[in-house]
Each structure stands twice: as structure tokens, then as C-alpha cells.
Symmetry: C2
């Protein structure tokens, strides 16, 4: 990687780290991590999501017990204000990353669009 | 998005656009697009790849005819120097993008790694 590319990527990383979206996400994430109950609910929710996603992708059967468990995880998450705030901040961060990505990848999009 | 974030993303886009990897990719892509035979082989190869990928993801059956057709597309691609060069340049670009992405996303990786 050339120095100009590396430095540009590094500058963007610093800007992201100092963005209000990242600072907010970090704060809300720490709030959840420092609350034992919220931390466990969030961890269960994430691992359940991941498990179901993997089963879907690999075409494995999802049992009724797993669906009930997943629904319970979602319910617990919805009842927890700290986690709800964290999920919202994650969504904002994802939207921000999508906008950043679409700016960066514009030259590549242009290249491949021309031929269609 | 704040101005500093937007400007950082824009600077990275410009650096990517001016990188030797992008200039090389663009040149090789244009070479293929200006060669009617190479262009058709490349287009068939891509649409065949996309079709098989979609069938795999959605769990649809891939017929024997489709496998034979896909193999023929790969053969034609391998026999074409212009396309081979383009595919190699695409691989280099993908590696570059992965390195850039891992720099940018470091703060987010750090955030989520802490809790594991
Ligand atoms: Ca360097
Ligand atoms: Ca702005």
C-alpha cells in the first residue's frame, strides 16, 4: 500500500474514532458491559442471532425450541433500555459506515457501471 | 456526517482513484471492454458465477447443464490473457480494499473485542 493510501485510511480511522457516532456507541456499549444483567441479555441475544444466522446460511433445520428461545431473547432485549439504546447506536454507526463505504468505492462502482 | 468524516472519506476515495492498483485495474478492464470477444467471455463468466451463487444462497438445485456451462466459461476465461490479467488485478484490488477496511474498522473491532 502506498503511503498516501495508508495515511488517508489512517486519517479516516481517526475521524471515525472521534466522531460523535463512535463516541456515543462506545459510551452505550460500556453502559451495557458494566451492567451484569444487560451484559448477559445482550450476549445471549447476539449468540442466538449468530446461531440462527449460521443455520439459515448452511441450510440446517431450526427447531421450535430455538425459535422460542430466540423470541425470549428479543423480548428481554426490548425490555432493556440500555440495550435498546445500544442497538439504535449500532444502527446509526452501520448507516454511517454505509455512507463512508459508498464514497470510497465510487471509483470502482463507476468502473463497473460503465459496461452495463 | 460531519465535515471531517466526509472530507476524510473523500480524500481516501481520491487516493484510491489515483493508486497504481486502481489505474492498472481500469486499464485492464478497458482492454477487455474494447475487445469484443474478451468482453463477451467475461460477461458470460460473471453472469454464470452470479447465477450459480444465487442458486447456492437460495438453496436451488444446480443442473448438470449449468455445471458444464460454468466449466466451459472458466475454460474460456483461462485461455484469454486479457481476462486473466483483469482477474489478477481485481484480486489485488480486493486485497487492498481488505487492508484499507481493516485499518478503518479498527476502532470498532477494538470496541467489540474487549468484551469477549
Ligand atoms: Ca507505506
Ligand atoms: Ca457535512
Amino acid at each position: 500500500m502506498s503511503n498516501i493510501l495508508y495515511n488517508s485510511a489512517y486519517d479516516l480511522k481517526k475521524a471515525l474514532e472521534q466522531s460523535k457516532e463512535y463516541i456515543q456507541l462506545k459510551k452505550l456499549y460500556d453502559d451495557v458491559q458494566h451492567d451484569e444483567s444487560a451484559k448477559n441479555i445482550f450476549r445471549n441475544f447476539r449468540s442466538t442471532q449468530l446461531n440462527l444466522h449460521e443455520k439459515q446460511v448452511t441450510g440446517k433445520e431450526i427447531t421450535e425450541e430455538e425459535i422460542i428461545h430466540a423470541e425470549k431473547c428479543v423480548q428481554l432485549v426490548q425490555q432493556n433500555g440500555k440495550i435498546a439504546a445500544l442497538l439504535k447506536a449500532e444502527e446509526s454507526m452501520n448507516m454511517l459506515l454505509q455512507r463512508i463505504t459508498s464514497i470510497i468505492l465510487e471509483p470502482l462502482d463507476e468502473l463497473y457501471k460503465k459496461s452495463e
